[in-house]
Structures are given as C-alpha cells and as structure tokens.
C-alpha cells in the first residue's frame, strides 16, 4: 500500500498551457527533475514551438520557414510529453483542480500558465480592411509572405516595428515608418542614439516620421491609403506594431492581475492560487533593476521564468531574480544594442556617461551611482561586461572602471562563480 502511494506521488500530473518558449522550458525543466511525471502541454496553435524572434529573418527571406521552428512534433513524445494541439482552454476549475477544454476536463496537480501575449490593436478607423496585419505569430508572417504589396506603412517603431520595416524593405516594399513619440525605439534608446539609428534608416530609403498620429486607414475592401494628422500616404499594406498585451484569456477573474495587466506572480512565479504558476509574456514579474512590476515581453526573460516556474512546480525551490531588457537591432549594418533601463521612471538622480570611439558610441545610465543601463551604437565588443555590472548593481564612477580588462574580468568572475569554479585557476610557478 505504501509503495502505491509513493508511486502516485511520482506520477504527478503537470499541465502546461501554452507552447511558447516559457511553456516548453517549464515542461522540460519538470522533466529534468522528475522522470516519471505526466506532463501535458496544451496549445491553441497547431504548430510545434517556434521562435517569434526569428520571424523578421523569415519574412525578409534570410532563413527558411523550417528554421523558425525550434522543436518538431516528434520531439515531444521522445521526452514523454503529451502535446495537445489546436485546443483552447475555456476556463479553470479551481475546486476540482482541472482545466476545462471544449470536449474534456484535464485534471492537474500543478498548472503552469504560459499563454504569452497578443498584439495590441489600436482603435483607428478602417482597421478591419484587408491588408492590415499584425506581426506576432507564424501565421501573420505566412500571410504577409503571400501578400503581394508594394508600399507598406508600419505603425509603431518598437523593436518589432523596426525589424518588420527592415524585413519588408528587403522584400522590395517601399516602407513608411510612423512613430507617435519624438524618436524611434522610444523604450530602449535615448534621443542621441535613436537619432543615429534614424539617420541610417533614412539613408537606406525608409521614410521615417516621428510625432505623427495615424487617424484613418482608407480604402474599400482593401487598404488604399493612410491618413495621419500631417499627410496622406497611398499604400496597400499596413503593419501594426503598436505593442503587445498579455494574453490572460481564461484566467481573467480567477487569478489576481497586476496593475499592468499581466498575471500577478511572486518571485517563485506562483500566482494567487496555490499550485498554479504563470510565466512568460502573460506574467507580471518584478524588474531586476528597481524591483517594480514590469511586463517583460522578451525571449530570455520568458525562458528563465519558465525554468523557475517549472522547477518550483517540480518541488525544487528557485527564485527569479528579475526581468531585464536586452535589445539588439541590426539596422543596415549599424549594430544597436540596449541593455537595461534608459532612465525612465528611476527618479531624478540620474547620471549619464557618454563615450565615443572610432565611430562607435556608448551611453551609460547611472542611477544613484549604480549602473542601470547601457546603450551602444556600432561598438559591441565586451558589452557583456556591462551586463554583468548591471546584474551586480555595481557602483560606477567613470567609464574606465568598467572598461579595464582586469577589473571587468574580476567582476565577471564574481557574478558567475560557476565559471570560476570550473576553469580559472591561478597556480604555482614551478621553480
């Protein structure tokens, strides 16, 4: 009898809702710790997991469609993970501990919600016309690949907007990029580095306009043009890159939500209900820099959150340190990198260090003497040193504090003790 109970204990049921990187990294983390457990992934989409970060490369034709996928359908059964495709979770039954699908109920011992995010659709007149696209899923990319257009208006210049514009330009479109705020990539770059990126975009034939608001999308069934508060552009394609919102779907009203609209989680990715975890774009975790809640709609944060949620669900406590923004954009050969915060919302005690060298530019943002962010244009060597300094919340006075190799090396070793344990040994000179 005792044996049977032990066996049941091992055969716990883990249900993962969502097949993005957060979901599969949670599922594979559980599998690493618990070889016996029953793991079920429920996905709305029919595909295996793919990487949305690679969609611009697919759209521009650099890589084939197959390379966007990071798993094959057969990979799941290899690791004994049950994969349910094209099924929408209707609701969550917290008394009976089960998720309700259209046809069946699936009971869980631990539930991990990784439903991801959906594009935010602005309320512009004529948004329903044919030729208006969003750019988030592989279906979106497929549709745009099949679409025969010549002129495209991209609304919103976040990283998705910029990368989509570059991809469309490479596909032979004439591209107009419209941004509501005063500069391009407003969340990740300050004025001066943003102006450098803008110059390169303009030189390469992308028609860029800041502080412009789109009022209406013209046309009958198909898109024929866009009217903004300044001008009228004739076009046949409109791409909306106006941000993402967390996909809460079936948990709305059941789980506690945060101020920013994501599912509220603690530092172990647990939600307001016991045995239910959330990770990825739908979760609202704390920022690594100031500890405030933040929506981190980025790949590496989702992956780390998935691992933390998975290992906590499997019974191994792990703490999520926080989300950090890292953006790398390659604009016609101009390498633009932004790590951490650009200084918004950190109070007034900000200090900026600017360094220029050989056509490269670096901008360090310090808050109360602590490095919180770095932006770099055309100078991407040794940038990880700054990342390590941000992770360590290091006090910096001058740029040379960080750029000296010895100092940065020691700093890196402090941050990554595992690396040190393994390989770096200062041994005795044999005489």
């Amino acid at each position: 009898m005792a044996v049977r109970i032990e066996k049941d204990e091992n055969r716990k049921r883990f249900v993962v809702v969502g097949n993005g990187i957060a979901g599969i990294s949670a599922a594979y983390t559980i599998r690493r710790y618990n070889k016996e457990a029953k793991i079920i992934i429920i996905s709305e989409e029919p595909h295996p997991t793919y990487s949305p970060c690679l969609l611009p490369n697919y759209l521009s034709g650099e890589i084939s469609r197959e390379r966007v996928f990071i798993r094959e359908l057969s990979d799941y059964s290899k690791d004994n993970i049950q994969f349910i495709t094209s099924e929408k979770v209707m609701t969550l039954d917290r008394e009976r501990k089960s998720v309700v699908l259209q046809a069946e109920n699936i009971a869980y011992d631990k539930l991990i919600i990784a439903t991801g995010s959906k594009p935010r659709i602005p309320s512009i007149k004529g948004i329903h016309r044919k030729g208006v696209f969003t750019f988030k899923s592989i279906e979106d990319a497929d549709i745009i690949c099949r679409w025969q257009g010549r002129t495209a208006v991209v609304i919103g210049s976040g990283p998705i907007g910029v990368e989509a514009s570059l991809a469309l330009k490479r596909r032979g479109y004439q591209v107009f990029l419209i941004e509501l705020l005063d500069r391009i990539l407003p969340q990740v770059f300050d004025e001066y580095p943003a102006s450098l990126i803008q110059d390169v975009l303009k030189e390469n034939g992308i028609d860029l306009a800041n502080q412009e608001r789109v009022i209406e999308i013209l046309g009958g069934e198909h898109v024929e043009g866009v009217v903004s508060d300044r001008r009228k552009i004739e076009c046949d394609t409109v791409l909306l890159a106006t941000g993402m919102r967390p996909e809460k779907g079936f948990v709305e009203g059941i789980l506690e939500l945060g101020k920013l609209g994501g599912i509220k989680v603690n530092d172990r990715m647990g939600t307001s209900i016991q045995d239910v975890y959330a990770c990825g774009d739908c979760a609202e975790a704390q920022s690594l820099i100031d500890g405030r809640p933040i929506l981190s709609l980025l790949w590496h944060n989702a992956r780390q959150q998935g691992e933390v949620a998975g290992s906590n669900a499997a019974g191994i406590p792990r703490i999520y340190t926080g989300s950090l923004h890292i953006t790398v954009v390659d604009v016609f050969g101009l390498k633009a990198v932004s790590i951490g915060n650009i200084g918004t919302g950190l109070g007034t005690d900000l200090e900026i260090i600017e360094v220029r060298r050989n056509g490269g530019y670096r901008r360090l943002v310090l808050s109360n003497g602590v490095l919180v962010g770095v932006q770099s244009i055309n100078w991407d060597e040794n940038l990880g040193i700054f990342l390590a300094a941000i992770l360590r919340k290091e006090k910096v006075k001058t740029y040379q504090d960080l750029s000296s190799i010895r100092q940065s090396r020691l700093n890196a070793l402090k941050q990554f003790p595992f690396g040190r344990k393994l390989t770096l040994r200062y041994s005795q000179r044999v005489k």
């Binding site: 990487s51 970060c53 690679l54 490369n57 650099e62 890589i63 390379r67 990071i70 790949w299 590496h300 992956r303 780390q304 890292i326 790398v328 390659d330 390498k335 990198v337 790590i339 991407d380 060597e381 040794n382 940038l383 990880g384 040193i385 990342l387 390590a388 000296s404 190799i405 010895r406 940065s408 090396r409 700093n411 890196a412 941050q415 990554f416 595992f418 690396g419 040190r420 344990k421 393994l422 390989t423 770096l424 040994r425 200062y426 041994s427 005795q428 000179r429």
Partner: protein
C-alpha cells in the same frame, strides 16, 4: 561526464607568445588570423592576484569561454543554437540554427564570443572537440587541460608553497 576536462590557465607561466591564438585561428579558420582566434591573451596593467616577485608586474591573462554551468548565452539565444555537448561538456553554437543576431555575444560577461563576418554568425571556443589546440601548442605550459576534479590542485600547491615561503623567511629580511 567524470572525464570532463577544463582549460586551466596560469598567468605566472604565460609569456604572452600568442602561440595559442595562432593555433586556435589556424585550426578553426584554416588560415592564421589572430583577430579570429577564440582565445585571446591580454596584458594586465597591474599585477596578479597573488603577487610574489616584482616580475609579476608583467602579467598576461586569457579571455576565452569559461563553459559556464549556468550560461547566460544559452538563455539569450532566440534560436536555441547554443547547446551543451554531452561528451566534452563544452557549449557549442549550432551553426545550422544560428541566425547571427549577436544576442549571445552581447550577453557574455567574459566577452568570449566573437562575430564571424564571413559566416555572419557568432563563434566561440568549443574545446576543439575535446583536444584544445591552444593547450597543445602552449609553449610555456601556462595552459593546461585538466579533468574537472583535478583543476583545483595547482592552486592548492601554489598556496601551500606560499605558506612555506612565509614560514621559512629569515626574520632580518623582513621589510619593516
């Protein structure tokens, strides 16, 4: 996995001859080009962590992949191209998957990942499949390739020797 080996570096033995860089770039690129080497020797301005003599002011250090246990590059890669080789324990970049976005390069705190302009992909030290050429051609013996469980021994020897030196030093030779 118990046979897993790591590269061990001794800055006191290194003469800065750059044979390791030459060997690395020749082996991995088919042509010698020091800038494409995956191991880099840099000169310190200061001294090593444990300074014994004045000669130690000329100290070289090595920048190469540490094959971390919890690597940041692995989290950052959006194509899951950074993988762990189970035989050697090395982190390798799968060039069938890599799209050259440079995320791993930006995230490496050791600055050990390079961007290959010809391939348009990132490259890093992959331990040459278990026989690192930098160690093979190291002229001074500063680089060693030791099993993980023995990698701490050189440091222990060094500390023990230093303790003996301190103990047997005559009293009148004390600097103060």
């Amino acid at each position: 996995m118990d046979e897993e080996k790591v590269i061990v570096f001794d800055p006191h033995d290194c003469t800065g001859c750059m044979y390791c860089m030459t060997a690395c770039s020749t082996y991995n690129n088919g042509a010698t080009s020091l800038s494409k080497s995956r191991i880099h020797i840099v000169r310190h301005e200061g001294h090593a962590i444990t300074k014994i003599t004045d000669e130690d002011d000329l100290i070289f250090d090595v920048i190469t992949c540490q094959q971390c246990d919890q690597p940041y590059c692995l989290y950052l890669c959006p194509a899951l191209a950074v993988e762990r080789n189970d035989d050697t324990g090395a982190l390798i970049i799968n060039h069938d998957k890599c799209v050259g976005c440079r995320m791993c390069m930006v995230g490496c705190p050791f600055a050990a990942i390079l961007y290959d302009l010809d391939k348009k992909q990132t490259v890093k030290c992959e331990l040459c499949g278990g026989d690192p050429q930098c160690v093979r051609f190291c002229a001074s013996g500063a680089l060693q390739f030791l099993p993980k469980n023995l990698a701490h021994l050189p440091k222990r020897d060094r500390l023990a020797r230093k303790m003996i030196q301190l103990r047997i030093r005559p009293i009148e030779e004390k600097p103060f």
